[in-house]
């Protein structure tokens, strides 16, 4: 009699504890890895603010089926070495139902493998290396891949009527993917790549490179980098007397680029996904809301991380907060209206969309044109 009572008592306690635990863990947890320290900290901050805005807006509207969304944030320093333990923590310790990458390609690749094997959907904001979606079908990417952007760059050169190009490539996943895409499309568009130069992520002074580039006398320059390398690069190019137009990419897409390069930034073209002059409601709303929440202007990194987070939350709404295969299928089937365009995923979970071309005019990014070429800009599919 006493033994049965004791068993029942223990059983009751366990049940109550179990209920208590699940009630305490009722928040829907999504994880994000961003570089908050290290060389990429500025981008990380921007990305995090984008994600936080998406979560705040969703929670204001009641969260997912009445449950609040919690954003679990880890700093990965944009380093693959740091990203692996971060991803493991998110998946095993925090047990997130979905993940967002607000970081660079190197770190995202490392994290992707972990999310894939844990079958936790991972929505990538702006890391553009092709291997990321090749990690498996739980990966989703809301930005155009590096090669697609590179091809768009070549198309832009051709649209501007130029033929002789010099490539300046940053030596990392990002730069190399862009250069590969550019070189792939260039012969088809009749462009000639006179020379290609490469520089390292930590370079800030490009004296030698610029001297050699000047001797090449290109009609146009396609230079990849981030605002902290592109800012000095563009400034030094113009100071050396090089007047050829410069085409950058979304790495330049930050007000910091204009601040660093100053007057030299005027006229720089970039291929990106955020159109400052957009008439689309999702974009306009984001451009208005973000500065209020974050305290600084929106850039591509913020917009794409906001988008990635919103897409994930959208999927969670459809599955009622469940993760795993149900979430994966919901994400794959969705159609999304986002600040970076109307998105839907192909079978490789890449997006097909137009590329925005912005130009620096009067110290701000303004719309220059839109590159809309579904054939040229087609994202790779599983078949390839």
């Amino acid at each position: 009699m006493v033994r049965n009572f004791r068993h029942a008592f223990i059983g009751a306690i366990v049940m109550v504890a179990g209920l208590g635990a699940s009630a305490a863990g009722a928040d829907i947890r999504i994880g994000i890895n961003v570089p908050l320290t290290g060389f990429a900290a500025t981008d990380g901050k921007s990305a995090l603010e984008g994600a936080k805005l998406a979560v705040a807006q969703a929670n204001a509207k009641g969260g997912v089926n009445g449950e609040k969304i919690e954003l679990v944030v880890y700093d990965d320093q944009a380093s693959p070495k740091e990203a692996s333990p971060v991803a493991t923590k998110l998946v095993e310790k925090d047990k997130v139902v979905g993940g967002v990458s607000g970081s660079y390609s190197g770190s995202t690749r490392a994290a992707a493998a972990i999310f894939q094997s844990a079958k936790v959907p991972y929505v990538v904001a702006y890391a553009i290396h092709p291997d990321i979606t090749l990690a498996g079908d739980y990966m989703f990417r809301v930005s155009a891949m590096g090669e697609v952007q590179g091809r768009a760059g070549a198309k832009l050169v051709s649209t501007l009527g130029k033929k002789n190009v010099v490539l300046v490539t940053i030596k990392n996943d990002f730069g190399q993917a862009l250069a590969a895409g550019f070189k792939d499309a260039a012969p088809k568009l009749g462009l000639t790549i006179i020379k290609e130069y490469e520089y390292g992520l930590q370079d800030r002074q490009f004296g030698a490179l610029i001297s050699a580039l000047k001797a090449d006398n290109p009609e146009i320059i396609y230079a990849s980098g981030y605002f902290y390398t592109a800012g000095p690069l563009v400034s030094q190019l113009r100071a050396a007397g090089i007047t050829a137009p410069i085409i950058g990419q979304e790495g330049y897409d930050s007000d910091k680029f204009i601040e660093i390069a100053g007057a030299a930034a005027e006229g720089t073209l970039i291929t990106t996904s955020l159109d400052r002059d957009s008439t689309a409601p999702a974009t306009k709303a984001f451009l208005a809301e973000f500065p209020k929440a974050a305290g600084f202007g929106a850039d591509m990194v913020a917009a794409s991380t906001y988008t990635a987070t919103s897409v994930l939350i959208d999927g969670l709404r459809k599955t009622g907060g469940k993760g795993g295969e149900a979430l994966k299928n919901a994400l794959a089937a969705g159609k999304y209206e986002t600040p970076i365009g109307n998105l839907s995923f192909n079978d490789l979970h890449e997006v097909n969309k137009d590329v925005q071309v912005q130009v620096v005019k009067d110290k701000a990014f303004r719309r220059h044109s839109v590159i809309s070429d579904p054939v040229l800009l087609a994202a790779p599919t599983k078949a390839k």
Binding site: L36, T37, G38, F39, A41, T42, G44, K45, K171, E196, Y197, E198, Y199, G200, Q202, D203, R204, Q205, G207, A208, L209, S211, A212, K214, A215, Y228, G231, P232, S235, A239, A240, G241, K256, E259, I260, A261, G262
Partner: protein, 287 residues
């Protein structure tokens, strides 16, 4: 002429290296400490110089304030971090120095924010043209001239003034120097002050050349300066200077012609290894 331009760019870069490495070599020569945290003073100099120049509107004030602040910070580093460790084996100070650099980098990020800072109105951007199609920014020419001037002045002070000779004596034979009434503490403080002020000076220039001051800007300098003093021959001031200039020129040519295979830092270290294989004591080290 491309070759001339590449040499000129190499000398400009080399001058900046020289300013940073010189402080490091002074410290090594005096105390046999590999002062990795020296690069933190480079970054501090860039921040202080930019903020001072923007607030006061005067670039000269920016330089002066920056050099004084860095000099004092360097002395503080010595007193608080290295002096207590003088009796320990040298690797203890090295590890402490690395830790100090990491802490400094994070402190800059916390105090000034992770985003880079830029000048409100960037000075010395005018162009000066030379024969042969060479064109330089005023700031680029001035950094080379400034470096040459400072090194000339230091060289003079070191050999022709009492204090300079006292410093040299302290390096060669500290006990004998002390018995002659030279205050070891004063000499050491002065050494750190001068070396750190030079790092700050370099920092202001780089901040101006790039119009960008960020917390991690000293990271390459922290280990490259070590490579330079090894290349020049540990403890040799003349060796350090020449090694810095030579390295600048080697990087300049290397990044253009070998850029596909090696990046700038790889080229620098490959060059260091090659030299050491031929001359293990460095370019001007005492065999």
């Amino acid at each position: 002429m491309l070759v001339l331009e590449l040499i000129a760019q190499g000398l400009i870069q080399g001058s900046i290296y020289a300013l940073i490495a010189l402080g490091l070599t002074l410290v090594y020569g005096l105390l046999r400490i590999l002062h990795v945290a020296h690069a933190a003073l480079f970054t501090l100099g860039a921040y202080v110089g930019m903020l001072a120049a923007d607030r006061t509107g005067s670039l000269v004030a920016g330089f002066a304030i920056s050099m004084v602040v860095c000099g004092l910070a360097g002395v503080a580093m010595f007193r608080l971090c290295y002096q207590p460790l003088l009796k320990q084996p040298p690797y203890v100070a090295l590890i402490a120095s690395i830790g100090l650099y990491i802490a400094a980098e994070e402190t800059f990020r916390i105090v000034f924010g992770p985003a880079s800072l830029s000048y409100r109105s960037l000075p010395l951007q005018g162009q000066i043209a030379f024969f042969g199609g060479l064109q330089f920014k005023e700031a680029e020419l001035l950094v080379v001239a400034g470096t040459a001037l400072i090194i000339g002045v230091l060289g003079y002070l070191q050999t022709r003034t009492r204090i300079g000779v006292a410093c040299q004596a302290t390096v060669s034979d500290p006990q004998m120097a002390e018995s002659f009434g030279i205050s070891l503490r004063n000499v050491r403080d002065l050494n750190f002050f001068v070396g750190s002020a030079l790092a700050g000076f370099a920092g202001v220039w780089v901040g101006m050349l790039n119009n960008m001051v960020e917390p991690t800007m000293g990271s390459v300098a922290s280990y490259k300066a070590l490579a330079i003093i090894v290349l020049g021959g540990l403890g040799s001031v003349r060796g350090t200077l020449l090694a810095a200039l030579v390295l600048g020129v080697v990087e300049s040519f290397g990044t253009i012609y070998l850029g596909k295979f090696l990046d700038r830092n790889a080229i620098a270290f490959a060059f260091l290894i090659l030299v050491l294989m031929v001359r293990p004591q460095g370019l001007f080290g005492k065999g």
